[in-house]
Assembly symmetry: D2
Homo-oligomer: 135 residues x 4
Amino acid sequence: MPRTRQLLDTLSVSFRPQVSSERLAAAIDAMLECEEAVTACAAAMVGEDDVRELHDAIIRDLNCSDTVATTRRLISRGSDAALLSAQLEACVIACEHSAELCAEHANHHEHCRICSQATLRCAEACRQILHRLHG
Amino acid sequence: MPRTRQLLDTLSVSFRPQVSSERLAAAIDAMLECEEAVTACAAAMVGEDDVRELHDAIIRDLNCSDTVATTRRLISRGSDAALLSAQLEACVIACEHSAELCAEHANHHEHCRICSQATLRCAEACRQILHRLHG
Amino acid sequence: MPRTRQLLDTLSVSFRPQVSSERLAAAIDAMLECEEAVTACAAAMVGEDDVRELHDAIIRDLNCSDTVATTRRLISRGSDAALLSAQLEACVIACEHSAELCAEHANHHEHCRICSQATLRCAEACRQILHRLHG
Amino acid sequence: MPRTRQLLDTLSVSFRPQVSSERLAAAIDAMLECEEAVTACAAAMVGEDDVRELHDAIIRDLNCSDTVATTRRLISRGSDAALLSAQLEACVIACEHSAELCAEHANHHEHCRICSQATLRCAEACRQILHRLHG
């Protein structure tokens, strides 16, 4: 969203030198989209006829939702690099684990297909920030 | 985001008959933007020179962030109308209270200006859904 | 927890005159216990053999978890009575709805039994505060 | 709380072999207490006369609140060890960072004293679980 970039430009977050506000805004947008996708997908899976095969995918989506939300809040507050790095590492794992299982169900559940794409984009955006924080 | 609409069309949420997925997607997008704006604005206000004048605005932004996040999750899960209505009522108040104070600081803090607009849009989107749930 | 009471006594929250810190501390403890019970119970239900019969109970537990967490944060920040009342109303509904369904499964799932008791205690604690806010 | 232990004994979480339910229950209780303490302390600091000296402590409390809440939810869902380890690492940092600054203000703000103790206990409980997950 153009407004995410506009908002970030009004802030003075501590990791600015290493990470451009364009990249941050893109990451935040990927996170927002991911939070919504995993929340909706988890609830939809709970109602599917094959829910017994979806157990792990549901738990991973729920975990991903909380992990991404916390990571986004930390980024938005301009948190210190040590905490942010650790939280981003957890976020990448949460997104990849969620994507892995939803991708297996993407053929028969459209919400899983959309969700697995959103979590992969979010994981990639987090890795981009991590790379710059460590670089 | 077009993807929010695409995601919602894969779900079978219980209030569909009264609320179109277009309107729901617009509300969810307004909520996501609001969640991000109030989180970033609250943190930015904590670092301002006039933070002592911003006490109530900071608390209202923090409250708004949590209230909107919960409301969006309930909507995304296709929750029952009784709970959703009550949570939407709280959400409208949280957004209006946040907007009221950030608007007072919009002239000297750009993040407050952006935030007050985001909370007003979110309040309006929630009222639209409430109106249809009750109608 | 005695520490909750000790913590509250260091704060100057706006609804103190109507609600004693003893009652507030008891409500916060009931909420903390409820948040944990519904989160764990929802995840446990997802893994049960009869998960297909538990759909609505899972969604209600997830909703309850988010709603109670937000309500507790608002209370802990000493928020204004208008927002707090609306959020408490939503919280009571979320807890009652969750308790209603978990009670139906209390005989064959011990986590549902514990969860339904925790949500009922939380609903009652919230009603007590609501009663005093309005009284 | 005895009920936390009682609840955990009804679940079949994946890291049980390495981590006893006693230790898990103790960690969850430490997290619940920590979540409440940092949320209330952050809001109280925003209202203090010396709020301009408390900027970093407020942000760290807010970050700690979200990080601990997410970590607790992951533990309560019996999540896989890889994600849980990464999230626990972030949680320890969030708690230690919060404790570090609140300890500096413990002499003149009682809520900071209580908060710094709660975050230290939470960090220690998380390290105990991490140690066993890796051991």
